[in-house]
Structures are given as structure tokens and as C-alpha cells.
């Protein structure tokens, strides 16, 4: 076998489960990571010769665990081993290990590993960076590039975050049902944040960072494989797939933003949309609506329309109204205003938007939408002020450029009027 890329793929696929199990054994993130690294090194030596193991995750866990135990024994004079009780539930055979990888313990292991990254003391961007490093196994260089910061700065950020969680109590007991649900929702929120960081970058030149979106989808699929019947995780998966499906149409060749109305829908990734529909079908049968499912349902309405003029805006308005009742937020109302604009016109939408000013005065999209509505109502001076404000709050060059096209349109109209 000359092409060894399968080893890379197998290790990447096995990583979350393997690191999570090692974390349970050793109750220390650093030891778990070290053990995993060593197991990977050995895999690179053994697998090309012996071929792929039956279950790469089980192999890596066993080898990593044995390595770390040896290390601990070597240091046992200085450092106590973990309690025998902690280590006693470790089987010897790879097959036995592989069998247990399907059990609930391991499911909770991976959830715990993700949950540890979501420590409430850590700012959101550090949670994301940590999850990318520890769970996904991206290199510091890759993460730094994704966040458009220097490698040294990212290294420091991740080290600091790791120190933070090593001092915190990691919850090692098996969670109860309520606790498990809480952990799931915290982790889901982190994955959603990670996706959004890629979907609409919060700084810099690049407007979309696909690798972050893809990583978020990979993590949400992992979570869904572990918690298959969870309606909100189904919803989160569907939502991310539907949003990501539009990526090829969201920017033109010059990297300018193309709004959904103007996107070439033939570029949308149909295979992702089909998968999302299948997941939503399952979620609907469970009859426990939640915010991710509703947002996915909204994205699905767009995905179902062959042309933008076929969009069922009344359905979108209805779904946003539902979202407003179960998760009220000014941003949700702002989004609903777009549906109201399509159904009832700009005046009704503006009436919905204006009261949001105190809450959203420093939100780019608020001023962008408000300017757009004022422009439709021919209140051009006010529109110009709103657009100027939006530009000053733009997160990326593409966002600013998009608003500038509106301002140019207003300027051209002004000139035309003067000429007459």
C-alpha cells in the first residue's frame, strides 16, 4: 500500500473518541493528549506494515493507555497512579474495547471532552479554539490561520485556555439525564458558534471560512451519531447543512456578497440539502420543536423554493413568530422583519424594526436592514445615515462593500433628481 492517506483519515476519524476515553482514564487533559500523540506515532509505524486495525479508535485507546501507564509507573516515585478503581474498567483485548465503544460510557466520554472545552470562564472564541485543537486535532497553525491571527498569539491563547480548564473541576461522574441534556445544549451552542465564525467571519478580509464550517458540521454529525434520537441535535445538523449548502453561491468571483434573493440556486449543494431534509423529517416525527429545528425549518423553506420569488414568506413569518415565542431575542425579531417586508411591505417591517434600536444599535445587520427599508420608502436621507452607520459597524470588507453599493445607488438617484 503506497498511499498512506488512509492512516491520516483513520486517525482523524478516531480522534474524538480516543482522546475522550483517555481523558476518562487519566482525568487529565495533558496526559490524555500525550498518550494519544504517542499512540498516533506508533500507528504510523505499525499500520503501514500490518494494515488497518479492525477498530482504529480501540487500537489507539489501548496503545495510548498502555503508554501513559508505563510513563506513570516510571514516575510513580514522584507521582501517584490514579486509583486502581479508575483503571480497573479497562479491558485488554482490542475486540472487547471495540465492543464497548458503542456503549453509553463512551458516548458520555465524547460529550464530556466537548463539554470541558465549553468552560463558562472561557470566552467563546477560546472555547472554539480549544475544541478545534483538542477534539478535532487541528494544528495551532491551522487554527491561527482560520482565525486570522498569528501562530504565537493562538498558541498562547490555547495554552491559557488549557491552563484554565486544568484548574477547573472536570465533571467525571456519569451525568444524569438532566445534566446530560444541559451538557448537550452547551456543546451544541459551541458548535453553532464555531459554524457562525466560519459562515460570517467576525473580522478580516475573508467573509466565509469554509474549513470552520466543515469542522462544525463534522462535530455536529459526531454528536448526532452519539445522540441519534435528540430532536435539537437533528435540528442543529440540518441547520448547519442547509446554511453550508448555499456557500458556493454566497460570494461572486470578486468576493462580493450575493444576497439570497440574487443567488444562483443551481450552485447550492443539493446533496447537503437532501440530507438536511431527511434529518428534519426525523425531527418532526419526534414532535418536540426547539430553536435549532425551527431555524432549520426556516432554512428549509428557502431551500425548497426553486426561485427566490417562489419562497413561501408567510411560512417563514409563521416560523419566526414561533421562534420569537420560545426564544425571544431582538435578532430573531429583526429577521422576522425581513419576512414581514416580503409579506406586508416595507412600512410594516420598519414598524417592527424601529423599536429594536436600543437593543441593536451596534449591530451591523440592524442598520443595514433599516437603511434598506428606508430606501424602499424613498426616505433617502435617513437611509444614507443608516447605511453610513452600518459601514462603520461592518465585520468584514465584503459586508462594507455590500452596503457601499446601496450608497452608490442612492447617490446616483440623487444626481438624476438634480439633473431633472
Amino acid at each position: 500500500m503506497s498511499d498512506l492517506s488512509w492512516i491520516d483519515a483513520a486517525i482523524t476519524g478516531a480522534r474524538p473518541q480516543a482522546v475522550a476515553a483517555l481523558l476518562r482514564y487519566f482525568r487529565n487533559l495533558e496526559t490524555a493528549e500525550e498518550a494519544f500523540q504517542e499512540a498516533c506515532l506508533r500507528a504510523l509505524q505499525k499500520w503501514p506494515v500490518n494494515g488497518p486495525p479492525r477498530d482504529p479508535a480501540a487500537w489507539l485507546i489501548l496503545v495510548g493507555r498502555n503508554f501513559a501507564l508505563d510513563e506513570a509507573r516510571k514516575r510513580s516515585k514522584q507521582q501517584a497512579l490514579p486509583d486502581e478503581e479508575v483503571l480497573s474498567d479497562t479491558g485488554d483485548a482490542e475486540a472487547a474495547m471495540a465492543d464497548r465503544l458503542d456503549s453509553e460510557d463512551y458516548r458520555d466520554d465524547v460529550l464530556r471532552l466537548l463539554f470541558v472545552c465549553c468552560h463558562p470562564d472561557l470566552p467563546a472564541t477560546q472555547q472554539i479554539a480549544l475544541a478545534l485543537r483538542i477534539v478535532s486535532g487541528l494544528s495551532v497553525q491551522e487554527i491561527a490561520r482560520a482565525f486570522l491571527v498569528g501562530e504565537a498569539a493562538m498558541e498562547q491563547r490555547i495554552t491559557r485556555a488549557k491552563r484554565r480548564i486544568s484548574q477547573a473541576d472536570v465533571p467525571f461522574e456519569t451525568p444524569g439525564a438532566v445534566e446530560r441534556a444541559e451538557r448537550l445544549s452547551t456543546v451544541a451552542a459551541m458548535i453553532y458558534l464555531l459554524f457562525n465564525e466560519g459562515y460570517s467571519a467576525s473580522g478580516g478580509e475573508l467573509h466565509i471560512r469554509e474549513p470552520l464550517c466543515e469542522e462544525a458540521i463534522r462535530l455536529s454529525r459526531l454528536l448526532l451519531r452519539l445522540f441519534r434520537g435528540n430532536p435539537e441535535i437533528l435540528g442543529l445538523n440540518a441547520l448547519l447543512l442547509l446554511q453550508h449548502a448555499r456557500a458556493p453561491a454566497r460570494l461572486d468571483a470578486e468576493q462580493n456578497i450575493v444576497l439570497m434573493d440574487d443567488q444562483d440556486r443551481r450552485l447550492w449543494r443539493r446533496e447537503l440539502i437532501a440530507e438536511a431534509f431527511a434529518l428534519l423529517d426525523k425531527a418532526v416525527r419526534l414532535q418536540q420543536p426547539g430553536p435549532y429545528q425551527i431555524q432549520a425549518a426556516i432554512a428549509a423553506v428557502h431551500a425548497r423554493a426553486p426561485r427566490s420569488e417562489d419562497t413561501n414568506w408567510h411560512e417563514i413569518d409563521r416560523l419566526y413568530a414561533l421562534l420569537e415565542t420560545i426564544q425571544p431575542s431582538p435578532v430573531v425579531t429583526l429577521n422576522r422583519a425581513v419576512a414581514v417586508m416580503k409579506c406586508d411591505g416595507p412600512e410594516a417591517a420598519l414598524a417592527m424594526v424601529e423599536p429594536l434600536e436600543p437593543a441593536l444599535s451596534s449591530y451591523f445587520h440592524f442598520h443595514g436592514l433599516r437603511g434598506g427599508l428606508l430606501m424602499q420608502l424613498n426616505r433617502n436621507d435617513e437611509a444614507r445615515v443608516a447605511f453610513d452607520k452600518a459601514i462603520s459597524l461592518a465585520n468584514t470588507a465584503a459586508e462594507a462593500a455590500h452596503i457601499r453599493t446601496h450608497l452608490d445607488k442612492l447617490a446616483a438617484e440623487g444626481k438624476k433628481r438634480q439633473a431633472h
Partner: protein
């Protein structure tokens, strides 16, 4: 003789493939399939969506519908059907009718489908 060739792999691994890698794998498969299609030796081909999209209908004493894939290593795959249904409920209803003896049917949406064309479709020849 008609043969079914069934593809197995770890979803954790396949799910971690980049789009380029996935496209390359599909292109390789298409190349092989084209060769056999040209000789009239290829029947329907389907790539299924991930098991996360699966629903299972199982019958024992009573019929139950589960929100997950079939996951019982003690049972073996015996065959499969392709249905073209409008909704998940419709195909669940079909599976319910099919599960006559105690056993189970897993429902998995199809991601890629190629109808193929076999000249001699009779099994056992």
C-alpha cells in the same frame, strides 16, 4: 447469478473526508461502474445517506418505530428494497407492511442513485 456488493466503512472516517476526497472516491467508483455498465453487467447503484438519517421499524410482540439505524450485530442483512415515497411516513408505512415475521427493516434515504440496466435480471441464472 445476480450479486449484491455491499459497501462498509466507518462513518467517523468517511464523514471526516474533505469534499475533494469524497469527490475523488466517487469518481473512482464511477469509473469502475462505467466499465461494467458498458458490458451490460450493472444494475441499480445507490449510496445511502449517513446512519444518522435512519429510522428502523422493528416487530416482535408489537411493532415499534425507532429513530435510529439498525444496530443489532446478531442479525444479518438479507436484502433490500427501493421505494420512491413522498414522505418519511409513507415509507414507514410500507416497511410496517413488509415486516411480517419478527424482524426489522431499516429505512435509509438514498444520497446517490444510478438505475443501471441489466439485460438478464432473473436471479439464479
Amino acid at each position: 447469478m445476480l450479486y449484491a456488493v455491499i459497501c462498509y466503512n466507518s462513518e467517523a472516517v468517511v464523514g471526516a473526508w474533505s469534499k475533494e476526497k469524497d469527490d475523488a472516491v466517487m469518481a473512482h467508483h464511477q469509473g469502475v461502474l462505467a466499465k461494467f455498465a458498458a458490458k451490460g453487467k450493472l444494475g441499480p447503484v445507490a449510496r445511502l445517506m449517513p446512519t444518522t438519517t435512519a429510522t428502523t421499524v422493528r416487530t416482535g410482540r408489537e411493532m415499534i418505530v425507532l429513530d435510529g439505524p439498525f444496530a443489532e450485530t446478531k442479525e444479518q442483512m438479507l436484502g433490500f428494497y427501493l421505494f420512491d415515497c413522498e414522505t418519511l411516513d409513507e415509507v414507514i408505512a410500507a416497511a410496517r407492511e413488509l415486516v411480517h415475521e419478527p424482524g426489522c427493516m431499516e429505512i435509509r434515504p438514498v444520497q446517490f442513485f444510478e438505475p443501471g440496466a441489466l439485460k438478464n435480471a432473473a436471479a439464479g441464472k
